[in-house]
């Protein structure tokens, strides 16, 4: 049986281990992110939410997921 390879990435500043060859959509789905309420950056570039199932995540990638919170 082929061993599942894991890679380390950073999501919102926290190191996470994910399955190698994952798509961005799978990572977000795992985190149960409500896509209509967030914006996503991959390595400081804003990602078009419609294209997340085409984007492959690589080792050491940095993902930022932001939303609106209370503020002045």
């Amino acid at each position: 049986m082929k061993k599942i390879k894991k890679i380390k990435i950073k999501i919102n500043g926290k190191i996470k281990s994910i399955t190698d060859d994952s798509k961005l959509s799978a990572v977000l789905k795992n985190l149960k992110i409500p896509l209509n309420k967030v914006a996503i950056e991959l390595n400081e570039e804003i990602i078009d939410k419609k294209k997340i199932n085409k984007i492959k995540i690589n080792k050491n990638d940095k993902i930022e997921i932001v939303h609106f919170i209370g503020g002045g």
Binding site: I11, N12, G13, K14, L31, K32, I33, P34, N36, K37, V38, A39, I40, E41, E44, I46, K49, E64, I65, V66, H67, F68, I69, G70, G71, G72
Partner: protein
């Protein structure tokens, strides 16, 4: 009669009936925030852009309490100290759901929270070119306000006093001068402490006020939200009604003729 229903606040071609904008920070809970907004009558609320908490997914979301379809969210760059951070924040905000109307706030000092106007000006130019409708937090300097206007700002938002200070309007003359020189919406942002401060801003001819701390941190936020709502209406009505001239000496209200 001053018909306040027909006296709308227009920002970037969008009409609003309320001239009070409120912040959504510093409340004890989301439900308290939502109720205060409702009582204030505000149709625009400022919001911050921050990281999603990926470890606690059950944390309540602002959007679940304040419906962005009913209340206009005004994404704000509070906490940004340079143009790069502010632009990144607002581009992300736009991506969340197509928000183009934004509040630009680039701070220059962590203690007094005064705006860094050089960075603010630079950011305004870029954002306007990218199609954003930018409401700009600025100091109360008429020259800088003019430059912002020329850079494509959609609203000028001078401070009354440092953010969260509750000191009220410190420089009425400058606010008055800015009012005289600009046709852009002029909104007092930051530093108000009590309802009467909002009335003074409106009487100076401002088009609106933005309040957060004074409501959120009042002992009774709901009552204070209502007080600010009424204060803004009173101030607007007073401004539109044309005040009397000031006089150094007294002028009796009762006729002097026929005194017994």
């Amino acid at each position: 009669m001053v018909n306040l229903k027909k006296d709308s606040l227009i920002i970037a071609n969008k009409k609003f009936n309320s001239r009070l904008i409120v912040g959504t920070g510093k409340y004890k809970s989301m439900s308290e925030c939502a109720k205060a907004i409702k009582l204030s009558g505000a149709e625009i609320v400022t919001v911050a852009v921050r990281r999603v908490n990926i470890t606690d997914k059950n944390k309540p979301l602002l959007m679940d309490y304040v419906d962005p379809k009913k209340i206009t969210y005004l994404p704000n760059t509070a906490g940004c100290f340079n143009s790069k951070e502010a632009l990144r924040t607002l581009r992300l905000a736009r991506e969340i759901g197509g928000w183009k109307l934004v509040k630009l706030e680039v701070l220059g000092d962590k203690k007094n929270l005064f705006p860094d106007m050089i960075e603010t000006l630079k950011s305004t130019e870029v954002l306007a070119k990218e199609g954003f409708k930018v409401m700009v937090y600025c100091n109360d300097d008429p020259l800088m306000a003019k430059r912002l206007e020329n850079s494509g700002a959609d609203a000028i938002m001078p401070l009354a006093a440092p953010i969260g200070s509750g000191l009220g309007i410190q420089n009425k003359i400058n606010i008055h001068i800015i009012r005289k020189q600009t046709k852009l919406p002029l909104i007092i942002d930051a530093g108000l402490g009590q309802a009467s401060d909002a009335t003074i801003a409106m009487e100076l001819g401002c088009d609106g006020v933005l309040v957060n701390t004074a409501i959120a941190k009042a002992k009774k936020p709901f009552e204070m939200a209502l007080a600010f709502k009424n204060a803004v209406i009173a101030g607007r009505q007073s401004y539109k009604s044309g005040r009397i001239n000031k006089s150094l000496m007294g002028n009796p209200s009762s006729p002097t003729r026929g005194i017994i």
